[in-house]
């Protein structure tokens, strides 16, 4: 079942196409990452999905309903905005208790969520007195207070220190596994997303350039790199370079890294022993190098960008 269904969303700001004919589906109990550079249209997309912005074209459904001014839907959605802003002169705990009353959850839940994000020490502080990182944690606590089924977070880990980021990502995984919460996370910090997301949608220039399960995207877009450990890197590199499916070879003191065309990885595994014998090099090991999400993102943007030219 799809929790979020966005079809052909378009939003213009004057002559700028912030989002251009974008379609996106988020399945129940998934963690999907919306990745892209600044200005890709992530925040505009999220705002349209949440019913804060009216799309010029297209339509959105959350849990099968239009999110624009549909208050009942919000009982199931937790939102972390890129820039959190709450009534500044109220105290942290008091405001969260108010939010508990709004959602009809017991007031002790306020202390629970502050504990989840390690913000108990700020209970009695005014919201305006929180640091940027603390405000971010407060925003996350605020989004989780009513135990939503879907959490939509725009740059959730912005302003957080590495330790806080790590524990927040653990929390995302925990909520996903134990409470079956669906997450739509937008970020441009890719290593974080690769830790928690099972799928990603890569956005650029207001469009989704690629989307799907991470494994599928790696298969589709990443040119495989094979690492060969040898005592004679230069000699082996000369032989390998001559293979028709090899795109690039880099050499270092311990061996060579070979970038091969899509689907040709196995051929290199077969050819390497023959080439080693020919060049007199001794093979000490051979393995596929894993591609980071960052590398994958770069591949997608490069390949899709070239297609669009």
């Amino acid at each position: 079942m799809s929790v979020i269904l966005a079809e052909n969303l378009t939003k213009h700001y004057g002559i700028v196409h912030a989002v251009n004919n974008l379609s996106l589906t988020v399945q129940e109990n998934s963690v999907i990452g919306l990745i892209g550079p600044n200005g890709a249209g992530k925040t505009t997309t999220i705002k349209m999905v949440l019913g804060l912005l009216k799309p010029d074209e297209g339509h959105v459904e959350i849990f099968g309903e239009n999110p624009w001014d549909n208050p009942d839907l919000r009982n199931n959605i937790g939102v972390v905005h890129e820039k959190n802003y709450f009534p500044a002169h109220q105290k942290v705990l008091n405001y969260l208790e108010r939010v508990c009353r709004i959602f009809g959850v017991p007031e002790f839940r306020a202390r629970e969520v502050l504990g989840l994000v390690n913000l108990e020490e700020a209970n009695d502080r005014q919201i305006k007195a929180l640091s940027a990182g603390m405000l971010q944690k407060f925003g996350i606590a605020h989004a989780l207070i009513h135990k939503p089924k879907l959490v939509v977070a725009d740059e959730m880990t912005a302003n957080l220190d590495p330790l806080a980021r790590s524990s927040l990502l653990d929390l995302v995984l925990k909520l996903h596994k134990e409470e079956k919460v669906t997450f739509l996370l937008s970020s441009h910090i890719l290593p974080e997303l690769s830790r928690v997301c099972d799928s990603v949608a890569v956005m650029n220039r207001g469009k989704v350039w690629a989307s799907g399960k991470l494994d599928e995207l790696y298969d589709k877009f990443s040119a495989r790199t094979v690492r060969i450990f040898t005592d004679q890197p230069e000699k082996l590199a000369e032989q390998v370079k001559a293979l028709p499916y090899v795109e690039h070879v880099s050499i270092d003191s311990r061996g060579i890294s070979v970038k091969v065309a899509e689907g040709k990885e196995d051929n290199l595994y077969e050819d390497t022993p023959k080439l080693a014998r020919k060049s007199g090099a001794k093979i000490q090991g051979i393995e596929s190098e894993s591609t980071s999400l960052e590398e994958l993102y770069r591949q997608i943007v490069t390949q899709q960008g070239e297609k669009q030219k």
């Binding site: 001014d69 709450f86 109220q90 009809g104």
Partner: protein, 264 residues
């Protein structure tokens, strides 16, 4: 647990922000000061009781209405505009509450509390300054208040729309102040033209936006002692009604825009 009342919580939250200490206390003091300080000018006026009452009310509400206007600028132009700009409304929109309820909670806080304070002080002043004249002339007292408040409510509606279109607290405040002075200057020019040409059409237009003008003309208060326009009480009342129809339309447009169109 039983679900609370989201509307009341948002209202309470808005009151907390709009009137944090000592804003309410300062404005209550200014209301009282503005009411009683200017009352002296009309006490002792001679003439029919109705005109004395009209003069008294006009004198005691002039300054408090201006103070109310300052609260409109603070709470709507700067307050609501700032809430849209910074994202507090965005936060409120993550709660199970209709957009129109959020706007109502904000307006009740911004205008309701200010009006409650205003009328509380006014009522107290009237019963202190003219205890025997209020109840026998209650219809004129009410009409005078409604007519005098008309222009401020009209202007509040304009400010509300301007704020929603601009969506920035500081800019809405500046535009609002400029608009206020521009309208005041335009009104004076229109009255001057009416006086010079003897035409009453410009005054009738002004009276529709500011119905206290019609009431002043009915009572032949300056400048209507020299301008030849003397509406009957029924006509003056119709101007008041017309003015409130315009105000209702402005607020209807604001609600419609906020609920159906406003991108946050």
């Amino acid at each position: 647990m039983k679900k609370g009342k989201p509307f009341l919580e948002i209202f309470a939250s808005a009151v907390h922000e709009d009137y944090r200490f000592p804003i309410l206390e300062i404005f209550a003091f200014l209301y009282a000061l503005g009411t009683f300080a200017f009352a002296g000018f009309s006490i002792g006026s001679s003439g029919p009781e109705e005109i004395v009452i009209y003069g008294l009310i006009s004198s005691i509400m002039g300054m408090p209405l201006f103070i109310f206007l300052i609260l409109v600028f603070k709470n709507i132009a700067y307050g609501l505009g700032g809430d849209i700009e910074r994202g507090t409304i965005q936060t409120y929109l993550s709660y199970p509450l209709k957009r129109r309820s959020i706007l109502t909670a904000k307006l009740l806080s911004a205008l309701g509390i200010a009006l409650l304070l205003f009328f509380g002080v006014q009522l107290f002043a009237l019963f202190v300054l003219a205890p025997g004249m209020i109840l026998p002339n209650i219809h004129m007292v009410l009409l005078t208040y409604v007519a005098h408040c008309g222009y401020i409510f009209f202007f509040t509606g304009i400010i509300l729309l301007v704020t929603m279109f601009i969506k920035k607290g500081g800019s809405a405040l500046i535009v609002g102040v400029i608009l206020y002075f521009a309208l005041s200057i335009a009104t004076s020019i229109v009255l001057f033209i009416a006086w010079m040409t003897g035409s009453i059409l410009p005054i009738q237009i002004v009276a529709l936006l500011n119905p206290s003008t019609a009431l002043s003309a009915y009572y032949r208060i300056q400048p209507f002692d020299v301008i030849d326009w003397a509406p009957t009480l029924t006509e003056a009342t119709l101007y008041v009604v017309g003015n409130y129809v315009i105000i209702a339309s402005l607020f209807f447009i604001a609600y419609y825009y906020f609920s159906r169109r406003l991108s946050i």
